[in-house]
Assembly symmetry: C2
Homo-oligomer: 339 residues x 2
Amino acid sequence: MHTRTDVRRIVEERWNSLTKPPGSLGRLETLVADLAEMQGTPEPKLDRKAMYIFCGDHGSTVEGTSAWPSEVTAQMVRNFLRGGAAISVLGKSTGLELTVVDCGVLGPPIAGAVNRKIAQGTRNFVQEPAMTRAQAQQALDHGAALAGECQADIAGVGEMGIGNTASASALISAFTGLTPADTVGHGAGVSAEGLLRKRAAVEAALTRHKAAFADPLDTLAAVGGFEIATMAGFVLESAALRRPIVVDGFITSAAVLAARALSPDVVNYLFYSHCSAERAHRRVLEILGAEPILDLGMRLGEGSGAALAINLIAQAHGLYTNMATFEQAAVAESKESAL
Amino acid sequence: MHTRTDVRRIVEERWNSLTKPPGSLGRLETLVADLAEMQGTPEPKLDRKAMYIFCGDHGSTVEGTSAWPSEVTAQMVRNFLRGGAAISVLGKSTGLELTVVDCGVLGPPIAGAVNRKIAQGTRNFVQEPAMTRAQAQQALDHGAALAGECQADIAGVGEMGIGNTASASALISAFTGLTPADTVGHGAGVSAEGLLRKRAAVEAALTRHKAAFADPLDTLAAVGGFEIATMAGFVLESAALRRPIVVDGFITSAAVLAARALSPDVVNYLFYSHCSAERAHRRVLEILGAEPILDLGMRLGEGSGAALAINLIAQAHGLYTNMATFEQAAVAESKESAL
């Protein structure tokens, strides 16, 4: 096994041997160095690329926190599986193996989704903890087991769950100290009045569950979601297995904050795909020290930003693997080297 | 034929009928609206995607303006054609039809390249005009003819030419009034001393040819390059034919400034792929009112940034074309619409 420093040096040497000015592919070069460092080899593999979409419902929607009815979660799960959703289309064009995980969607199990349903939606965090500590642990375990079964060389993580931006905002406030005024945004399009209800709900939850925030698992249980906790478990185990994870947007970053609180080393195995248009995402990325690859004003979730970033990482990897060297192409090298 | 406003409205209506919150695909939605507006139809086509790489040598390299010997231009043309260059790899993975145009490379015609050689490199613009006015017009005509023959639904434009960032800097200064201190950068990696030589050469050229800058064609002749002028002609005719053009980086933006000076309407048919790490590119994009799609610190040219952007535009187009509507997927619509 190479050391991290060795791997980066060897990757940089290979990039500099390819027919282009040194460093001229910019971020594409560092993305491959990051990938190599995560996988622990200067010849990183990207033969299999996966996307996991973690889905679950939220009891706090009774507070009027979302513009959409909760039944849309199950409807969208079916849409993912039938190929009609954004992530279905992007997954196909990018060659992603798509896994849809039902972590706690309202209603019966859905054919084609991996059933890891913990309950029919969380409880309303304004009134009580969203889930028990045992359920939070169960979700983490589910995610870890899925990561252990995954055979892909890289995995994107996305989510679906009506009401889950409220949960993500509460988690982000709990883990970072940002106030709900900072962390609560329009999500999937809530109205101005809805935004006030959503902010009030998150404020009430933060006040009610304050004592839980001393412990990451208690925090997840108090204001998290089944899909967010399962994703956190998936991210934790993926990092332990040195499998690079491509983070999606706002809600995914809440799962990352939870995973980081449980094991700070996870941040070494993450690509941050994009900066979402959702309020506070840029702030959260700054707190994580993340440099998002794309900034396209997206705010969909589902792993849609992660899919685009995997495509870019794959293109960078293709360049690293398939470009000719100066020697192979009989191209003269630079007379000077300044940059 | 729909009016521009009609087209944008119809595209927006279709986006809003698809299974996602309105506007949540951000820039991907506006990219398709732009594409539709350029093509003049709410059902834009992207069946065929092309990349044109315009190549030429520069007499001003005798001033020591580049870190690379001029023979690298022809060597890289062969590398493009043999599949070893960055644009070869990206072109293949994105399904681009690649055309390499020899607009004035030193040496004999190169098998596989389209021969539109005007001369064996330009003259040294520090001492005399880079080309005659007739040659500049010939290059524009070559570019226009190539655009007329092109069958693609979208075309990226890139370039190769040792010494051509000096020419681009001079053109940008001439067209925008920015000084060489603003517009001259490290290009393909010139040293600190080389940068001083390059800046001095551009300053000398700007002083010598000042009178030419009253006229765009004279400007191109004085300090341009055969590949830059041919590209400008290609861009002009593509716009006339309503074929969307995806602009690459710094040198391409000089060709765009020339084309815009000849016909301001061209800017309505351009996608700006990325912001290059080359000094002054961000400034030039601001002057053009451009919003680059990507910002990855690249500074390679060849059309490499344009290829990545075409890939993203194609993914946006795929979403627009292939996603299910709320009706098709039996997904409930939002109860509110705030954004």
